[in-house]
Amino acid sequence: MKILEIKNLRKRFGDTEVLKGVDLSLQKGEVLSIIGSSGGGKTTLLRCMNFLERANCGEIVVNGKTVYSAKEGEKPEVSPEAQLSFGLVFQQFNLFPQYSVIENLMLAPKLRAKGKAGGETVDEIRTRAESLLLRVGLEEKADDYPCQLSGGQQQRVAIARALMLAPEILCFDEPTSSLDPELTGEVLNVIRSLKDNGHTMIIVTHEMEFARYVSDRVVFMADGVIEEEGTPDEVFGNPKSEKTKAFLSVGMGKL
């Protein structure tokens, strides 16, 4: 079943068109990696999906329901449900510094449940938060503050925080790019365990080896379009587009 369908998404900043009509679809439980050199529009695509930017035109369909549809010149509103179909893990973690780890996880669910009859109780939220911390291996850090954690630990908290809202599709924007090399492994392991649990994910990454073994499908983006798309073996093993070939031959070792 198609969980996500993106149709002809376009985004301009001023006069520069950054997304030039992107089409993408995703099956439930599928893991998609997006690779490509910087400036290609990968971040912008994720930000449009998470409504941090409003696409100038195009459609976003989640589970058969159109959650965003813009024609040229329109700026549609985004419903809270649409917002919560997506989760986003940032390169810079963006944890809330004044809250402890467990409070970071509980804040949004608590605010959502507040004043709603039959909503989740604080105890239920806490139980869920604790079990997610266990899953990312940080149950002992529940009462620490973000400034006391390493980058890898902060990123794992950020992943758990995103999972608290049970998004249909969890997006990652270069989740390991601001980490020291020795800390990337712990984050990538968590992402892989999410795949084993059946989470649908879109991962923008420069970790080519990781993209190759974790993804069901790989997309190569360049200059605001999807240049090539296929299974990891197709894209990495036997790229068709010249741009993909050039990127991979330079990029494999360096990035």
Partner: protein
């Protein structure tokens, strides 16, 4: 000995007036500054330009001038612009309370302008990622401001705010220019009437002790928010 008691009781009264002016100014200026801050940050251009102009004038001219302006302006208006203005108007009859209120109004709007710039700096220094993380987690704009941004802003503005607040207690001395009987006014009386210099130094001691207390208080507040880095 009698002289000592007289000096201390007079200066004590002056100090109470100074403290009253100080406290009321803060009570008014802290929220008014927030309003000014939101106005200068407004996306509605005319409003933001107008409020930036106001802040510029308030920060760009001497506070003493503003005290005079607030004190004399209504009187001048009555004299030249609107002579038939109801003479029963209480707020310019030159009693102590009207002079005190004129000083208070001038202080409050002047300090609100300074505070608004401190708030703006604090708000603008919060990384965009904090707002974005809040939005992606489904928080409303209001929730993002009150639950995520506000405490981080408070932490960042405590040092500059404590500076301004320490300046304020000393600035209350300016009210003596429109004969509000605060600390310096009383001390000057001893100088001009009795030829005594030392009460002025005693007055200085009052300020010094109070500033010491404020410093300790703000130090504690800063320590209280030391548990996180932002």
């Amino acid at each position: 000995m009698e002289l000592f008691i007289e000096v201390f009781s007079k200066l004590g009264n002056g100090f109470i007036i100074a403290l009253l002016l100080f406290a009321l100014t803060l009570i008014l200026a802290i929220p008014l500054g927030l309003v000014m801050c939101f106005c200068t940050m407004s996306k509605f251009k005319p409003l933001s330009l107008f409020s930036k102009l106001i802040v510029w004038v308030l920060r760009g001219t001497p506070l003493m001038l503003q005290v005079f302006a607030i004190f004399y302006l209504p009187g001048l208006l009555k004299l030249f612009v609107w002579p038939q203005m109801n003479t029963g108007w209480v707020w310019f009859d030159n009693t102590f309370s009207t002079r005190f209120i004129a000083a208070l109004v001038a202080f409050a709007i002047n300090y609100a302008a300074y505070f608004s710039e401190i708030y703006r700096g604090g708000i603008e220094s919060i990384p965009k990622g904090q707002y974005e993380a809040g939005q992606v987690l489904g928080l409303t704009k209001k929730q993002v401001f009150f639950k995520i941004v506000l405490l981080q802003v408070i932490k960042r503005i405590i040092p500059p705010m404590s500076n301004e607040i320490i300046t304020l207690i000393k600035d209350t001395a300016l009210a003596n220019t429109i004969a509000v009987y605060e600390l310096i006014f009383e001390a000057k009386e001893f100088m001009t009437v009795d030829g005594l210099i030392w009460p002025l130094f005693v007055a200085g001691g009052f300020y010094l002790v109070f500033v010491g207390l404020l410093t300790i208080l703000f130090g504690r507040l800063e320590k209280k928010l030391d548990y996180f880095k932002a």
